[in-house]
């Protein structure tokens, strides 16, 4: 089937909001090339479970596409139409399984050496879209906070190597009540600007008291779901004929309730958390990876105004000689390794925050928990500078948001 053959009744398996959007814009969807449309459908089919910012963005994008004249449509999608697809791809159920189609398309583009052409077409599309539908600016300047080193008393190595060149390194932070002060600053922002899913607290270790208005995700709180998922994966892996493609298809079809999420809870957040575990690599076993990936996805999808992430210790990777000698040190955390992971994770959090609208006004703080070392980035802070000024975390947060 090709996009031009689409009919309204074919969207009957889509959730209500998704179906409504697709059917109302069917004429637009019919005009899009197969190398492009399933990407858009993979977003539409999830519409009912997406964050408000995402829903708005998708609706605007489709409305804009609908406003294009035929010549513009040709211009926008010519590069996509030039891509050569296989008959096999055309016969896939891209309407009901668009994400799986995109995966197959990706493999096809790699193997036929068309990936660069696709990326070029995608970039051009992104630039046109950005010019046509200007992204909404945040109502307040964004603030990102990364707290690293939970459980580690001291570390002599260099920290924040990648962040320092973009901001000011503070060597004399007063750590007393630092977490509480940062939490208080975050809660105040949530209270002052009560936008749904705009203020987040992601925890990789022990959860601390936090404001009720924060969207909260915790690695430990998801333990039962993680184990349920790992059990499912292990069971599937052992089935004859199971391969990575087949398993990904199975995981993609999972619903939150399948791994124990309560259907009475926040449906959008449940779906988000399920995807963290089914689509993220390493998120099921390493808390540092989970926290970094959660921050990345929260920033990419929910575009929060405030994001506080606190990395926790991850389990230690046992070396071969230990495994072969059956030395049981499974539960022992790797505190230094977790700090190194979190340091890089904090850098990635900042990079991902800076991809969002309003980046020029955004600020970011990273702090080695319990220590006097922190780095702050944003308009109020000089780049590549070091400050020996004594300051509390409360003051640092206050300076960051102006």
């Amino acid at each position: 089937m090709l996009p031009r053959d689409l009919k309204p009744e074919q969207f009957r398996t889509y959730p209500p909001e998704a179906r409504k959007l697709a059917v109302n814009n069917l004429r637009t969807l019919q005009q899009l090339p197969l190398s492009f449309l399933p990407n858009l459908l993979s977003e539409i089919i999830e519409l009912d479970y997406k964050f408000p910012v995402e829903r708005q963005r998708i609706s605007k994008e489709i409305a804009m596409l609908g406003s294009l004249a035929p010549a513009q449509m040709h211009e926008w999608f010519g590069s996509f139409r030039d891509l050569s697809l296989s008959i096999k791809l055309e016969h896939l159920d891209w309407l009901n399984q668009p994400a799986q189609f995109v995966e197959q398309l990706s493999a096809h583009l790699w193997s036929t050496h068309q990936l660069d052409a696709f990326r070029k077409a995608a970039k051009e599309y992104g630039n046109r879209l950005q010019a046509a539908v200007a992204p909404d600016q945040p109502v307040i300047a964004r603030l990102g906070i990364a707290i690293i080193g939970q459980g580690l008393d001291a570390y002599d190595g260099r920290l924040f190597r990648d962040l320092r060149e973009h901001g000011t390194f503070f060597s004399h932070i007063n750590p007393e009540n630092g977490i509480q002060q940062l939490m208080k600053a975050v809660a105040a922002r949530a209270q002052a600007h009560p936008v749904p899913y705009a203020h987040w607290y992601v925890e990789g270790g022990h959860v601390v008291e936090h404001g009720p208005m924060l969207t909260h995700v915790s690695y430990q709180a998801l333990e039962a779901k993680r184990l349920a998922l790992l059990n499912k994966m292990n069971a599937e892996i052992k089935r004859p004929g199971m391969g990575p493609v087949e398993l990904r298809t199975i995981l993609a079809a999972l619903q939150p309730a399948d791994v124990g999420f309560d259907s009475q809870e926040d449906v959008v957040l449940n779906h988000f958390q399920l995807k963290l575990l089914t689509e993220g690599s390493g998120t099921q076993v390493f808390s540092t990876t989970f926290v970094q990936w959660t921050a990345r996805e929260a920033l990419r999808r929910a575009q929060p105004l405030t994001l506080l992430v606190r990395f926790g210790p991850r389990q230690r990777q046992r070396p071969m000689n230990e495994l072969l000698s059956n030395i049981d040190s499974h539960s022992e955390p790797d505190l230094v390794g977790s700090l190194v992971d979190a340091d890089m994770g904090a850098y990635y959090n900042w990079i991902n925050q800076q991809r969002l609208p309003g980046a020029e006004y955004s600020s970011f703080i990273a702090w080695f928990e319990g220590s006097s070392r922190a780095v702050a980035l944003g308009p109020p802070f000089a780049r590549g500078a070091t400050s020996s000024a004594t300051a509390t975390l409360e003051e640092l947060a206050s300076w960051a948001v102006g």
């Binding site: 070029k120 992104g126 071969m320 072969l324 992971d341």
Partner: protein
């Protein structure tokens, strides 16, 4: 929606070229200042006696390492052995571009055939085109014991021999999978080492059944001349599968002294778990193992003085700036950082302390090996770096 990276990065050919040139320049500048090597000029290769006595060892520095953690200034602390011990003895190519599929099996197969293979990365299938082992053995009429592959995982079990009709069956390399040996040696125990035997880091979901049985016992006893007990005891002193691979290579060299050995390192691919510290730790380990392997070469009379060793990653990893990826964790975007790597050649017939900026492709390796060893890689897409000879 579709473009998650509208602001950063460009994979158009021109941009790719510019970016790879940039990577190449940073490697060159760093090496010149840190290791005291000089810019190429003359051919990297010298006459090193008759090809019939030459031995070649190819090491893939895997799976996939970036400049930031290796040859860029910030990464130098992770590669002290290559920097201080190997580079001064080597000819170093700063710009090796992989334009193929960036999965470890398919990319290694491409390296081994000189053709950008398109086979399924996650299936145990042979390369579509003749491998370097087939060219070597058929053209030079070498016995099966003269070409070996030591590879990390089950997926590499077919890499020794292609499905090519002109070459193929009977002309390939023998393949040793150390994890299979380990499984055979440890069978019957109740030890939880499932994680260690995990086949592939690229997807935690890919874990085909490993086999370990009669064939592996035979390899241990007749090829490596090791008792099961000895193998098991030694394995218990090692920290990683790549260390086990180097141990197997050492035994292979002692017992069989093959002319062509291909060893694929894989520890670095732990990066897919997203733990940066484990990734860096693996880079450091691989750096050390490369130096250890070179020492093993020098201490073995069958190899000392007549062996050329080539070290190169199969490809890089995604850059931090590429929005479609997640930095070091994967190699999915096809950006310049993930496509551009380096290669060093050292030993017999190689000029020492030279840097070459000329761009080469991954597929040039096999024709270059052909020039060194005296066979013709007739179906390879690449061309010999020997034109620099």
């Amino acid at each position: 929606m579709i473009v998650k990276e509208p602001f950063i990065g460009d994979a158009s050919s021109n941009c790719l070229r510019e970016a790879t040139n940039g990577l190449s320049c940073s490697r060159r500048d760093f090496l010149r200042s840190a290791a005291g090597v000089v810019l190429g000029g003359a051919s990297p290769f010298l006459y090193a006696g008759p090809a019939s006595t030459r031995k070649v060892i190819v090491v893939t520095f895997g799976g996939g390492a970036r400049d930031q953690e290796t040859f860029a200034p910030a990464g130098q602390e992770n590669i002290p052995y290559m920097l201080k011990e190997l580079i001064p003895q080597a000819s170093f190519f700063t710009q090796v571009v992989n334009r193929g599929v960036l999965g470890h099996y398919v990319a290694t197969a491409s390296l081994a055939t000189g053709v950008y293979e398109t086979l399924n990365n996650f299936s145990s299938t042979p390369p579509q085109h003749p491998t370097v082992f087939e060219y070597f053995r058929k053209d030079l009429k070498r016995p099966p014991t003269d070409a070996w592959v030591v590879a990390p995982s089950n997926g590499f079990s077919r890499i020794g021999e292609s499905e090519s009709r002109r070459y193929g069956p009977g002309w390939g390399a023998q393949v040793i999978l150390p994890k299979h040996l380990l499984l055979a040696a440890m069978s019957g125990g109740t030890i939880d080492y499932e994680h260690l035997l995990r086949d592939n880091y690229e997807t935690p979901l890919f874990a085909p059944q490993l086999k370990g049985g009669e064939f592996e016992f035979r390899q241990m006893e007749t090829i490596l001349k090791l008792s099961v007990g000895d193998f098991r005891s030694h394995a218990k002193t090692l920290s990683s599968p790549d260390e086990l691979s180097v141990y197997v290579v050492q035994q292979l060299m002692q017992q069989q002294a093959p002319s062509l050995i291909w060893v694929t390192m894989h520890d670095i691919d732990v990066a897919h778990t997203g733990a940066y510290s484990l990734y860096v730790e693996s880079v450091r380990r691989t750096d050390r193992l490369c130096a250890e392997l070179w020492k093993i070469v020098q201490s073995n009379p069958e190899y000392a003085g007549n062996t050329t060793m080539m070290i190169l990653p199969d490809f890089g990893r995604d850059s931090d700036e590429e929005a479609g990826g997640n930095g070091f964790q994967h190699h999915r975007t096809g950006d310049p950082s993930s496509r551009t790597t380096w290669m060093m050649a050292l030993g017999a017939g190689v000029r020492e302390g030279r840097i070459y900026d000329q761009p080469v492709q991954s597929t040039d390796l096999v024709p270059t090996l052909g020039s060194i060893m005296g066979f013709q890689a007739s179906i390879a897409q690449g061309r010999p770096i020997q034109e620099l000879f």
